[in-house]
């Protein structure tokens, strides 16, 4: 171990570069996974903070934006035994009123329904919605557009439901980052704006204690094109939409692994090349090929473990720095032990793979190399 450690310390600059070659990919992996996990968590929070037992939406909708639950279906669901109350929700994007590019999400809510209550504690100014000509601004949207309480906003470019301008009556900072990007208007306004006046994208169901399964079965049997999901199931289903993120992370991991391996191979090959006589001497005094391989792979392993540890630290520090770039907690990260395990494992695998070929080359050094003096 002392021999391995001192070999690395003997060539500090090269070892440091190799360390960095392992640390950077590990850091990237930690950052990507933590942010991806943060996004999943925010979806979960969205459901949890709604307080609903079930969420109803179109069974075949690939995205909630395409889900349609008709008013008559809503009326029937309300009458199901065990349903305490419902909250309707819809959504549409609009052009940023203060910029020529970019969109802002509009969330439709009904002031008298229960889901509106969750914004009570999130208010940073003003009050909740009461009328159709009012709007609540998420903290980021308010800042980005430069609106303040009392301002009037032309949201649609043309009057909707007879309303040309909407008055800002409140601002909020939600625990759900993407809600802060948007604005909340009366659900009827969005219904009219999208031209489907009798449909919603999502219905939150609040059920009596113990009635959730019964209500779920009743909704799904009466409306085969709808699905009623528990909060956890809902999160899982739509978190699956973020599978692209997992694919992206996988690609980045593979690229990082290849780059890291090449870095370690290069460094270790140079090291082996410079130490041919030393290795020949070790072989001459009776060291087996396996022992020589062990030394080189051991060096790779040690450097990758150190690089892996450093990568975890850089990953967290880098992620925090990145989050700082996005105001109002727009981006959040969740650090899980499994993320650190994955990152560290990638580092260790990098070192092991990267050191194996140089180790094999070191094994091929003949003892007679010890006798070459030129």
């Amino acid at each position: 171990m002392a021999y391995i450690w001192r070999n690395l310390m003997q060539r500090k600059v090269r070892s440091s570069l190799c360390l960095l070659g392992v640390a950077v990919p590990v850091a990237m992996i930690v950052a990507l996974i933590s942010i991806s996990e943060g996004m999943r968590r925010s979806l979960n929070n969205y459901m949890e903070t709604s307080g609903a037992s079930l969420v109803v939406f179109s069974k075949d909708a690939a995205d909630l934006a395409f889900s349609r639950v008709k008013q008559e279906q809503v009326d029937a669901i309300v009458d199901i035994d065990g349903v305490e109350s419902i909250s309707r929700s819809n959504f549409m994007p609009v052009m940023n009123p203060r910029a020529s590019i970019g969109t802002i999400p509009l969330f439709g809510r009904f002031p008298e329904e229960r889901i509106m209550q969750k914004y009570e504690s999130a208010l940073t100014g003003g009050r909740l919605l009461r009328a159709k000509n009012e709007v609540l601004l998420g903290s980021f949207a308010a800042k980005q557009c430069g609106y303040k309480l009392g301002d009037s906003i032309e949201l649609f470019g043309a009057p909707v439901a007879g309303i040309e301008k909407f008055e800002v009556v409140g601002t909020f900072q939600s625990a759900i980052p993407w809600e802060n990007l948007g604005m909340i208007v009366h659900g009827d306004v969005i219904r009219i704006a999208i031209g489907k006046e009798s449909s919603y994208s999502l219905i939150f169901l609040y059920t009596d204690a113990g009635a959730t399964d019964r209500v779920k079965n009743a909704v799904e049997s009466r409306f085969p094109k709808l699905i009623a999901m528990r909060s956890g199931e809902f999160t899982d289903r739509f978190a699956a939409q973020m599978d692209f993120m997992d694919d992206f992370i996988m690609i980045v991991t593979i690229i990082a692994l290849v780059v890291g391996v090449l870095g370690v191979v290069n460094t270790m090959m140079m090291s082996v090349g410079e130490r041919r006589r030393e290795i020949g001497t070790l072989r001459a005094v009776g060291w087996s090929k396996a022992r020589v391989l062990g030394i080189v792979v051991g060096e790779g392993l040690l450097i990758s473990m150190l690089g892996g540890g450093m990568g975890l630290l850089i990953g967290v520090a880098g992620t925090e720095a990145l989050l700082g770039w996005f105001p109002d907690g727009l981006l959040i990260a969740t650090y899980l032990p499994s993320t650190f395990t994955k990152g560290f494992s990638v580092g260790v695998v990098t070192g092991l793979i990267g050191a194996f070929y140089p180790g094999w080359r070191a094994c091929q050094v003949q003892p007679v190399e010890a006798m070459r003096y030129e």
Partner: protein
């Protein structure tokens, strides 16, 4: 092969480049226990190749090499023989630069099942005998040339080898230091009972040899 023989070469040849270069040519030699053999000769005469063959570092193209009665028939045997029965002293000392004197001495013991305490004891004993008791934990990079060669001598003897092979051991030392190293080498190998095969250009360090050979064009010619 006599009972006391620690090395025997029978009809050994070594050629390179598909036989175009003959480094060692049909050579027969027997080295008995405790014997001191000196081999001199011009550069390129095949001295180092001879040492490689006797040291189980290389295989002959023809003929057989046995060390302590064991025929060097394959790589595993050669590795074991190098590890247990042969000690090397190289011209350039070939110490591991990142290790201390003591660590260098015990390098040949690492593959063996020798306890840490025993390794330490053997290294301390040998380094004391070569006059480096106060340099045991010193990194070899800061030692002088003579001190390094003494560490290399201690390393060569740490396994109590039957055969000690020395390739120009004083080649990088001044005359006085060279003689000191040679005196130490003889004193210590006698204690261990090792035979010594010395390959050198320097006739002066061949004094006291039981047999002297001149190597020319891959052939050995006994001169004394």
């Amino acid at each position: 092969m006599s009972d006391a023989a620690v090395a025997r070469l029978s009809g050994v040849s070594k050629t390179f480049e598909h036989g175009r270069i003959v480094a060692v040519d049909s050579l027969d030699l027997e080295v008995v226990a405790g014997e001191f053999i000196a081999v001199t000769g011009p550069s390129g005469s095949g001295k180092s190749t001879l040492l490689n063959l006797m040291g189980a570092m290389d295989r002959p193209t023809k003929g057989e090499v046995s060390i302590d009665g064991e025929l060097l028939a394959n790589a595993a045997i050669m590795e074991r023989v190098r590890s247990r029965k042969i000690g090397f002293v190289f011209q350039m000392h070939n110490l591991i630069p990142v290790l201390t004197a003591k660590q260098n001495v015990v390098v040949p013991l690492w593959p063996h099942r020798v306890s840490k305490a025993e390794r330490r004891e053997r290294a301390t004993d040998l380094l004391t005998r070569v006059g480096l008791a106060d340099r045991i934990d010193t990194n070899v990079k800061v030692l002088s040339g003579g001190e390094r060669q003494r560490v290399a001598l201690a390393r060569a003897l740490v396994t109590n080898p039957r055969l000690l092979l020395a390739d120009e051991p004083t080649g990088n030392l001044d005359t006085t230091t060279g003689f000191e190293v040679m005196e130490l080498m003889h004193a210590m190998r006698r204690q261990v009972g090792s035979a010594l095969v010395l390959v050198t250009h320097d006739e002066s360090i061949c004094q006291g040899a039981d047999r002297r050979f001149q190597m020319r064009d891959g052939r050995l010619e006994q001169t004394a």
